[in-house]
Amino acid sequence: MNKYAKISLDGLIFNNPTFKLVLGTCATLSMSTAALNSFGMGLSVTVVLLLSNVIISLLRKVIPNTVRIPAFIVVIATMVTILRMVLEKYIPSLYDSMGVFLPLIVVNCIILGRAEAFASKHPVLDSAIDGVATGLGFTCAITIIGIIREFLGSGSFFGIKVMDFKMSFFTNSAGAFFVYGICIALFVLIIDQVEKSRRAKKARLLRVPVVEQMSEDKEA
């Protein structure tokens, strides 16, 4: 498989930050009351993740190993400060709805996690792709939770009224934990099935004594 495709797939699905690694939970739980808010939060995190990954990857040979965590945090905090200014000027509605969770993007574990685990060890292009993929993985996950909670909680879809019912349980904090927990469980179930079928396929292929197929399988 192509190296870049593998990085993207890992970030989007197999190492999905929200459902697989369960990082950045505070933002996910608090911002997913409405689909539009969660989408905005997801994109904000993606932008910060991309910029911080690129900068940290560029600086990875300059930053001494002993002070790397403070250095990463300062880079991330600078990016968040810039994002905050831009949002305040151009998208004030999103700025207001995010409230205290906008500065808290700094301590979102996804961003520091990717800086530490990936950007500090890989070249710029890889890190940029990883940042976008992980960010989009987060955006998709938080938007799915947002859509479910908004639909069940107020009967609307991205702010448009679809049905006339209301279960305020889902817009409350308890509903956030509930929907998130069920989503993780479903994700684990689906990924397990995919892995199982993949392993079965692999085993079937290996039993056939054809050299070509075996080498293909090894590449995969």
């Binding site: 939970t25 505070c26 739980l29 403070p70 400060t81 808290l104 409350n172 904090s173 927990g181 684990v188």
Partner: protein
């Protein structure tokens, strides 16, 4: 408003009705990660409370008396996170020197606290000029000052610890039960948190 009423208001809001973990969703990572045992949960809670108070003690005066007069409020995120990181480092060294036994039980949690959103959350929340805005009770305006900010940090820390310890107690029992494979770990913890949040929802009905 009477000062004791204000203190009671902050207490009820920060510990129960606006609980940091279960209502405000701040500091969920340690809540899910370090709540497997009651003892660990308690150590983490105490460490977080300590750092919260220290951080507020430094950031609130810095913001009000230095950053606002100099008009550099836009640097608050960078300043605050740096102060918190430095405080955690200092605290780690101090505890290591003063009490090696305490360091052994609490030491591993200290580095984790830097990226705990609850700490930065408190530092950011107390910057509001009106106390009623964060305490969540609509009523007379109460001016914010350093004393109230520190009290809020203390009670928020206590609320955090209460939720952590309760979760630790439940998880000690749940981890031994037969649960479907896909529900093990994070999902079942989330469902437990859901029930706890429902219980805490009752506290929002308290009016002072």
């Amino acid at each position: 408003m009477n000062i004791f009423t204000v203190i009671l208001m902050i207490f009820v809001a920060a510990v129960f009705s606006q609980n940091f973990i279960l209502v405000k969703f701040l500091g969920i990572c340690p809540f899910l990660g370090v709540s497997k045992k009651t003892g660990n949960a308690l150590s983490m809670g105490v460490a977080v409370t300590l750092v919260m108070i220290l951080a507020t003690l430094v950031t609130y005066p810095l913001y009000t008396y230095v950053m606002v007069p100099l008009e550099i409020e836009y640097l608050e995120i960078i300043f605050f996170i740096f102060i918190i990181a430095a405080l955690v480092q200092i605290l780690e060294k101090v505890i290591e020197k003063l009490s090696p036994a305490l360091y052994k039980t609490m030491g591993i949690y200290l580095p984790l606290i830097t990226t705990n959103c609850a700490i930065l959350g408190v530092a950011e929340l107390v910057l509001t000029p009106d106390l009623a805005a964060i305490v969540g009770t609509a009523g007379a305006e109460v001016g914010m000052n350093l004393g109230f900010a520190l009290l809020y940090a203390l009670f928020a820390g206590i609320g955090f610890t209460v939720a952590m310890v309760l979760m630790g107690g439940v998880r000690e029992k749940v981890d031994t039960l037969p649960i479907a494979k896909c529900m093990k770990g994070f999902p079942i913890t989330m469902i437990i948190a859901c029930f706890m949040a429902m219980a805490f929802y009752v506290f929002t009905l308290i009016v002072i």
